[in-house]
C-alpha cells in the first residue's frame, strides 16, 4: 500500500500532542490573569462624571479633609456623597460662574440631584461598613489610594475578595493611628507590623477568625 502520510507528519504529530499540554496550561493561566485584570476589576479606570471634580485639587491642593464632604464615614456604612449644598458652601462664592460648575448650580436651582457615577463599587452581595473600618484605624488611603493625586477619580484597588482578605487576615500590616486616618501618603513612624499589633490591642480588633467569617461581609 502507498504511504498515507508525508514524512513530516511524524514530527508534526508529536508536536501537537505534547504542544497541546502547554497550550492548555497557557489558556488556564490567561483566564486566571484576566480574572484579576484591570479590565475586569475596573481598577485604575477613570469614570465619566457629570462634573469633572478633582480630588487632586480639593484634597491635594486645598487640603480639604475627606470628612468635610464624606460626612457619614465615621457613623455609617455609607461614607456619603456630599449634597449639592456642600458644594455650594464654597462655590456660591468662588468660581460661582464657572461653566464647569453649571451642573452643580443647576442642581441647586432645580432640586435635581447630580447623577455622580459610582467609582468604588462593591458587588451588591458584599456589605461593607465604612464607619467600623475608619474607627479601627484603616486609613482612607489604604483602600482608596492617593486620592490627593487623582485629577479625576478612579478606583485604586481590585476590590476582589482576596484583596479584602489580605487585610482581614493580617490587619497589623495596614492599621494606622486614628489621627492619620485621612492622611494621604502616611508613613508609619517605625516598624508597621509592631505599630499595627499595638494598635490592634488598642482597638481590641477581633481575631482574624472572626474577621474572616463569611457573615462578616456576606448576608
Amino acid at each position: 500500500m502507498p504511504q498515507i502520510f508525508h514524512h513530516s507528519t511524524n514530527t508534526f504529530a508529536r508536536i501537537t500532542i505534547f504542544g497541546a499540554i502547554f497550550v492548555i496550561a497557557f489558556l488556564a493561566w490567561a483566564v486566571v490573569q484576566l480574572d484579576r485584570s484591570a479590565y475586569v476589576t475596573r481598577a485604575t479606570q477613570v469614570r465619566e462624571q457629570p462634573v469633572p471634580f478633582s480630588h487632586a485639587h480639593h484634597v491635594g491642593g486645598l487640603g480639604l479633609d475627606c470628612r468635610y464632604c464624606h460626612t457619614a464615614v465615621e457613623t455609617s456604612s455609607f461614607a456619603n456623597v456630599p449634597p449639592t449644598k456642600t458644594c455650594m458652601n464654597c462655590h456660591s462664592q468662588i468660581w460661582n460662574n464657572s461653566p464647569t460648575l453649571e451642573a452643580v448650580r443647576a442642581s441647586f436651582r432645580t432640586g435635581q440631584s447630580i447623577p455622580w457615577t459610582r467609582v468604588n463599587d462593591l458587588p451588591d452581595f458584599v456589605y461593607f461598613n465604612h464607619s467600623i473600618h475608619v474607627d479601627k484605624g484603616v486609613g482612607c488611603e489604604t483602600c482608596h489610594g492617593r486620592v490627593d493625586r487623582m485629577p479625576l477619580t478612579w478606583q485604586s484597588a481590585s476590590l476582589q475578595m482576596e484583596w479584602c482578605l489580605n487585610c482581614h487576615r493580617q490587619p497589623e500590616k495596614y492599621l494606622r493611628p486614628l489621627p492619620y486616618i485621612t492622611t494621604m501618603g502616611y508613613q508609619p513612624a517605625g516598624n508597621q507590623e509592631e505599630i499595627g499589633r499595638r494598635l490592634m490591642a488598642e482597638f481590641n480588633t477581633p481575631d482574624t477568625r472572626m474577621l474572616t467569617n463569611c457573615s462578616t461581609c456576606h448576608r
Partner: protein, 1001 residues
Amino acid sequence: MSDSQKDLDLAAVRGALGARLDGARGREYWRSLDELAATPEFREMIEREFPRQAIGWSEDEDPVEGRRNFLKLMGASLALAGLSACTRQPNEQIAPYIRQPEELIPGRPLFFATAATLSGVASGVLVESHEGRPTKIEGNPEHPATLGACDAFSQASVLQLYDPDRSQALTLNGEIESWGAFFGALREALALQKTKNGAGLRILTGTITSPTMASQLAAVQKLFPASKWHQWEPAGAHQERAGARLAFGQTFNTYYNLANANVVVSLDSDFLASGPASLRYARQFAARRRVSGGQTEMNRLYVAEPTPTPTGSKADHRLPLRSGQIELFAGALATALGVAQGPKSGANADIYKWVGPIASDLKKNKGACLVIAGEYQPPAVHALAHAMNAALDNVGKTVFYTDPIEANPVDQIASLQDLVKDLDAGAVDLLLIVGGNPAFDSPVELGMRDRLKKAKLRVRLGLYDDETSEVCQWQLPETHYLETWGDARAFDGTVTIQQPLIQPLYNGRSPLEVLQMLTEAPDARAYDIVRNYWAAQYAGAGFEAWWRRAVHDGVAAGTALALRTPSIQGANIRANAEEPRLGGTFEAIFRPDPTIYDGRFANNGWLQELPKPITKLTWDNAAIMSLGDAFRLGVKTADMVELTYQGWKLRAPVWVQPGQIDGAITLHLGYGRTRAGRVGTGFGFNPYGLRTSNALWSSVGLEARKTTGSYLFATTQNEHMLDSERHIIHSAGIEEFRKNPEVIQESAESPPRSLTLFPEWKYPGYAWGMAIDLNSCTGCGACVVACQAENNIAVVGKDQVRRGRAMHWLRVDSYYKGEPTKPEIYNQPVPCMQCENAPCELVCPVQATAHSSEGLNDMVYNRCVGTRYCSNNCPYKVRRFNFYLYSDFETPSLKLLHNPDVTVRSRGVMEKCTYCVQRINAAKIDAEKQSRQVRDGEIQTACQATCPTEAIIFGNVNDPNSRVSKMKAGPLNYSLLAELNTRPRTTYLAQLRNPNPEFEA
C-alpha cells in the same frame, strides 16, 4: 420627622404620568398598568420622588440595569455572580441630596412612631425607614396595645403600602380624572344639598375611633343637619357593645388585665390572637404561665370553642362546643356560680359535668379570675360574662370598663338597614363611602352591590379599586396610613397621632382630607386638620411640646379613657336552658380569616401565604368540619360540598379539622374576592354569600351536601399527628413537673458533649443562641411575617406552596396529640437551629454554608451553586431553595420595600435563617465603635421583636447572665432531635399544662 421633608412637589411628575394615562383610556388603562410601570415617565416619577429621600442608584444607560440598580439590590446580579469577578460591575449612579436633612445619616435607618388600625382600632407601631423608605414595622413598646409586639396584619401593612395594585389614580367611571375635577363635581352636589339641609347626603364609613374624624363628621352634621352618617364594619365588635347594653343598659368598652388572673374562662373568645388588645393579653397571659427558677405557679385556662384557635391550643381544658351551645354553657356556669337561675342539668351532659369544677376553680380565685366572652358570641353571653365577673368581683382587678372608644357606637346592622331603606326610597343623592368594602362584605340579603347603585352620585375613597369602587362613579385613591397624618384610639382609648413615613405614592388623599372637602375649609391638609383639632382640645400652654411628644412617642399622653364601674341590670341576665336544635342541619359559624381578616388584606401576598394557625392552610379558606360530620357526609378534605342557608347557596371545599365540634361548619370570611387585585382575586370562596343580618356570626339551619369535583389546597404541613417515639415536643403536667423537675430532662435523650471523635471547636467571644418557649407560643404566626419582612423573603404563590416550595425561613409547626376529635394542640416555631455540628455544612461542595466563629451557620447566597444537598441533609428541613426566580426584581414600587441590609436571593440558590445576622453585625459594629461588648437584649431578631408572648429569646450563650443562657439553664430546656448530636444553638423549653385536678377527663 420634620415637615420640610414632606413638601416634595411631584406635580410635574404626576403631570407627565397623567398625560401618559390620558392616552390610555378606560379599562385599557388597567390592562396597561404593567406596561405603564415600565415606561420612563413612571420610573422617573418613582426615582425623582425618592432620591431626595433615598440615596438611590438611579437611571443608567441600560434601562434594565437601571431598574435593577435603582436601589441597593443585588439579587439579579447574583445570577451572574456565578462568573464572580469575571463579570464587570455595571456603571451605577449615586443621586445625593440637594440639602441633606440633618437628622438623617445615609446608611442608617430611622424609626418613627405611628399606629396601624384594624376595624378602626389603633395598635401602635414603630416604622423602620431607610432614607425615607418605610421597610419594616415593629411594635411600639410605649403603646398599651402592643407593648413592643406586633401582629401579622401590621407587619404586612408595609407590603400593602407598596402594593402596585393599589388604586393609583382618581377615576370617574374608570377614566382618569384630576382631583380638581372631582372637587368641582363635589361642590356642585353639595351646593344642591345645602338647599335641602343635606337630606340627600349619606356618609358610609367603617367603625371610627379617630377623634379628629369624629369632629369632622360632627361639623358636617352641623352643616347638613339632615344628612346621615352610617357605619358598617363586617367584623366589628357589634355583639360586645350589644352585650354591654344588655347587661348595663348602656354601651361600655371592656378590657381585661390577665396579669392578675389565675383562672381564665374563655367563652369562645380567641383573645390571645384576635381583637384589638390581643397582643397585650397574650403578653400578660404568657407571663403568668412562664415557669422559671423556683416559680412554678401557672394560670389555668378553660376554653369552650367550636373550632381550634391559638387560644384553644393553649387551653389546659379545651371544651369543644358548638357556637350555639356556648350560651347554654355560660348559663350553666353562671347558674353554678349562683349568678343566674338556670337548670342544673340538661340534654348536654358534658356541659353540666364541666361547669362544676370550673365554677369551684373560679370561686377559689375570686378577684383573681376572669370570664371572657367571645366577641362573636350573642349579647346574652356577654351579659352573662359581665354578671359573672361582677359576682366574682373581678371588676377593677381583671376586668375594666370605659366609655366606648368608638366615635359613635351605633348598632351597625340597624345603621346599614337604615341606609338601605333610604336607598330604596331613592332619598340618597350623594353617597360618600369612606374606606370599607360594603359591596363585598355586607349581609347578603341586603344585596348592597346593586342597592348602592340607587344612590345618584356615588363617591368611594378606597385603597383599592375594588368591588365597591366598581359600583361607584368616583373612585378616589386613599392614602395608606404610612402616607398621611391621622389619629386613632387603642382598645383603652389611648390616642396615637399617625404620622406619614413617605409621600403618597399614588397621589392619594386621606379620609380626613376628603371629609374636609365637605366642610367650610375644604382644602386643609391632613397635617393641619389633625394638629388643629388637638390644639383645640389641648387646654393651656405647652401644646407644641405635648404635640411633639405625642407624635414622637406614638402615644398621646392622658388620652386613655377614664375607668367606669357600671352596675349590672340583674333583670336582663337570663340563663338560656335550651340550645338551638340542629334538626339534621349544621350550624354555620362565620369568622374573620386569621390572615386576611374580613378580606381587606386579600391582595397582600405575605398574609395570603402566611400559613393559617393550626390548619397551615395558605391562599384559601375552607368549609371546616369535624371528622364525624365528614364521615356522615361521605366527604374528605378537598371534596366539594354545596352549602345552603335560607336559600342562599355556596360551593366550598371541605377541610376536615381535628378538634372541630360535630355539627358545626366554620367558614372564614374574606375570600372569594372578585376585584381585589392581581394577588387576591379569585382565591377561595365567599362566605359573605351566606351571611345574613340575623346570623352575622353563627346560626343553625345550614344544609350541606356532597357535590362533584375536588379542590387543590396548598398547605405547608400535611402530617400533624405526634407519634410517641419521635420526641419532637416535650410536655408535662405542672404537678408532674413540681414533683420531679427533671421530668423533661429524663424524657429527652441528649448525648454528652464529650461523645465525639473530634477535638472541640472553641467559641470564645460571642456565641449566639436562641431559646423558644413552647409554653408561651400561641402559634399566631406574627413571627413568620416579621421574618419575611426583615429578610426580603419572596412570595411564591399558591401553586408553588402546593409543590412544597414555600420560602419562609421560620415556620410554625402544629401537632395534634391524643384522640382526633379533641386533641391537644401544640405549636412549635422552627427556625434554623444553627447546629454546631451542622450536617448541611459538611455536604456543601463549595463551602457556601460554613460556621462562623460565633457559632452561626452562615449561608453565602452568592457562593451557592444549588446542589440542594444541604437541604437533604438538614434534619429540621429549614433550608429553602429558589426553584425559580421568586424575588421580584422588576416591580418598581416593591423594590422600595426591600431591606437594604439583606441580599435579595436569585434563582437557583439555597437560603435560610441566620438569626438576622444583619442585625447582629449592626449591633456589633456599634458596640465595637464604643469599645464595649454587645449588651444582652441589644440584638433582637425580627421574630423575637414581634413575638407577643416573648416566646423567642436570642442572645449570647457565653454570657451566663444573658436571658437566653438563663432559659437554657432551666430544667425545661431541650434540643430538637438531640439524639443526632447536631448540637443546635436553638433549643426549646418544654410545654407545661395546668389541668384542674377536679376534672376527670
